[in-house]
């Protein structure tokens, strides 16, 4: 005897003819270049961190003088 808990709510489209959730043209363009887009943000983050380190180093030097 099989006892199943809970009921199924999620609708699966299946595999044939299925496509991911609708994307706008801008999203399709970004997704096509997602590696570049994420690399740009990582680059900006690195620049922010470097700027903060330089700012802290200057403040530290001013503090010591």
């Amino acid at each position: 005897m099989t006892n199943t808990t809970s009921s199924q709510l999620i609708v699966l489209r299946g595999l044939e003819g299925a496509s991911p959730t609708t994307l706008t043209p801008a999203q399709k363009c970004i997704i096509a270049h997602i590696d570049v887009a994420t690399a740009v943000w990582w680059g900006v983050l690195v620049l922010v961190v470097l700027t903060l380190i330089v700012h802290l180093a200057r403040a530290w030097r001013a503090h010591r003088n």
Partner: protein, 432 residues
Amino acid sequence: MTQLLKKLFPTTFDQRIIHAYQRFFSIQELEKELVLKWVFGASLFSYFTTFSFWVSSTVLTADAVEKGYAVCRPYFQGCTDWLFLHGLPNGYSQTVLYMGLFGLMLIAVYLMYRKEWVLAHMSIVLMYLWHALATFILSGQLGGNYDYYLFVLTTILLFLPHKEFFLKLCFVLFYALSTVAKIHPAWVAGTYFSALQTGLPLFPDWSIPFWTNLVIFMEMVGAWFLLSRPGLVQRLVLVFFIAFHLYSGILVKYHYPSVVLPTLIILFGLFYRKTPIPFDRRSIAGWVLVGLLVCMQSLPLFIPGDEKLTLEGNKYGLYMFESNHQCISTARITFTDGSEQVIYNESANARARCEPYRYWFRLNAFCKRNAAHIQSAAWTFDHSINGGPFLRIVDTDELCALQYRPLTHNDWIKTHSDEPEVVGYPVENIYD
């Protein structure tokens, strides 16, 4: 020494201890600075909003253990042995505890009114300890991002020197750290919101990537201007973040904005002034905390695989809106008498993180409770993120033998490089 302190601690020995307590936790800063007094009030309000949610939650109770839905933190999987409270309707201990904390809040407000900051500090420390214990040790289900904010900000407010500076720095740092979780198609392409039936609140679908990338930019770069000299730029950035938190409340409702907005407005609006960067010996504790926050946020980057798919290490740092999740968990248990039970769970709620760990923890508890009667147990776990395909990231016939390691990749959870089977595509889901 205030009059009430002298009455409560009359002997010289008592007063020495109070002085040491005052010095050790830099309470004189609290007594002197109006901005800190206001943040103290805001923290009290945050505890009120947090505990008003916890008082009705059952996840910290022995009832949750008995019914099999308690989940511990991955690094303390034995937490269920320590849960002893009983919530309504099974017992009174949980509501007794929270009404005790409510009484303590009233006392703290009275002590603030009397300017008895040492005693007010002592009363809020008890709330701090219970909040920290519950968030990080006793349960794996209570640690929302707002709890991380509350924990870190009150740690600074209550215990560290240079309170005003480190409160401001860590507040801004939180914005920047949250972007580490957002550098992902969920935000860079905005697929989190286009996968929702209702889309991004108030704005048309075509504008989703613009808004999501604007948020990343403001949190990563713009937020630092909250710390700049008082002027137009500082005020404009403040207005942006106030608007951002009010807007995000359309989805996250009151809890998050109630924890974050008052402190944001107090620190960077009402009482803002540029605070010099401290480099003295007393500032070391604050800098160590900053380093720890950065390390904890970076931790998932060192665990192989897509963190958003496997959710390994996801909650060691901020994880707000990191991805839109849907999942299906199906466990087939065959008992020694030949009968079979299917334990089926699914979630179509974008907000509910589909951690394989959480489902495994509950199934593992089931295995332990029924160890003598289980012949075999198979388990599949299908996970879709941001409207992408459902990937079968767990497929095992050895459910009851699985172990979960908290700091490394678990081989039984597949990531993209393992090329997990695609089992279907989801329709647009909901945010609840």
